[in-house]
């Protein structure tokens, strides 16, 4: 399977994603430049973390208008898998491919830490190798990670099982203490209506080896493989 990793000016997790796909997953990965108009037949698109366009205006606001994003949107509309991590999640929200927005962390500080997230819905192409309620240890590193959407929109996401990950403590309790950025309802990751576009603030590609403290992110990538190859 071929993964296309989009590099915007200011992306800084594109190599981490490349490493995870090629070295850990053992699949093919290519970099896609933001000015390209072609996904080069990638089966899965990853929008990596970083600070595309210096986060000018708002995180993700300008990356959204890159030429490659038209192709990513068309890929998504056709049911192709798209995974947005951190800045990638912000870009997906700005592009309207996911609802809501990511705002400045409530405590105003950049947070770089390993956090715990609870798997809310294992019945997606990104989470089918996890158990419902399983706690994963995955790092976050962001200044604008506070997920926000109007209450009615949050209710709809929850009712449809589209909240995929929530910040939780070790026992799986959803609490304010476990919430690293003040996200509404501890939301760490959501999926689109079609179920093929996932956005999440935590970095699964940085949790792919026990040497790095956790390999809980590997099964997310393997889930895509299991579902898309099937």
């Amino acid at each position: 399977m071929k993964f296309g990793i989009v590099t915007f000016p200011g992306s800084n997790c594109d190599y981490d994603a490349y490493h995870a796909i090629t070295e850990i997953l053992g699949e093919e990965a290519i970099y896609l430049w933001h000015k390209d108009h072609d996904l080069q037949n990638a089966d899965v698109v990853i929008l990596p973390g970083g600070f595309s366009y210096g986060d000018y205006l708002r995180a993700g606001a300008i990356a959204r208008f890159s030429p490659i994003m038209q192709e990513v949107a068309a890929h998504a509309k056709g049911g192709g898998p798209v995974l947005g991590i951190c800045n990638g999640f912000q870009i997906l929200c700005e592009a309207g491919l996911l609802p809501g927005a990511l705002l400045r962390n409530a405590h105003l500080q950049f947070v770089s830490a390993r956090v715990r997230i609870r798997v809310e819905n294992p019945d997606t192409m990104f989470t089918n190798l996890y158990q419902k309620g399983e706690i994963l240890e995955i790092p976050v590193a962001h200044g604008d990670g506070r997920y926000f959407a109007p209450p009615a929109s949050l209710d709809a996401l929850e009712a449809d099982g589209r909240v995929i990950f929530r910040y939780a403590d070790a026992s799986g309790t959803i609490s304010a203490d476990a919430n690293p950025n003040g996200s509404e309802r501890n939301i760490a990751g959501i999926i689109n209506e079609q179920g093929n576009v996932l956005g999440m603030m935590p970095h699964p590609e940085r949790a792919c080896s026990p040497l790095l403290g956790s390999d809980d992110g590997v099964r997310l990538l393997e889930s895509i493989l299991a579902r898309v190859a099937a």
Partner: protein, 85 residues
């Protein structure tokens, strides 16, 4: 076409948690400005553009706000009248 300068104010939508505004409010209280009730931190953008007239320039800038300059989920904007540049 004549040139215009148009200023845009973008602020967090009323009622939404505004941690930056809260932090500045707290700092002002510390400095002795105890009558400050609230502060809202936003962005001030000046656009220089050509247009048929000031009204057309304003309409174009409002469209820019809806498409890029403001986030429709979390921010409100106000466009000032265009002045000849």
């Amino acid at each position: 076409m004549p040139k215009f300068r148009i200023a845009v104010h973008i602020v967090p939508r009323k009622g939404l948690l505004d941690p930056q505004g809260k932090a500045v409010t707290d700092a002002l209280h510390t400095l002795g400005f105890e009558y400050v009730d609230a502060v809202h931190v936003g962005r001030y953008i000046v656009i220089e553009t050509s247009a048929d007239d000031a009204m057309a320039a304003g309409e174009t800038v409002r469209e820019m706000c809806r498409k890029l300059l403001a986030n429709p989920v979390t921010e409100d904007f106000e466009v000032e009248s265009g002045v000849p540049a």
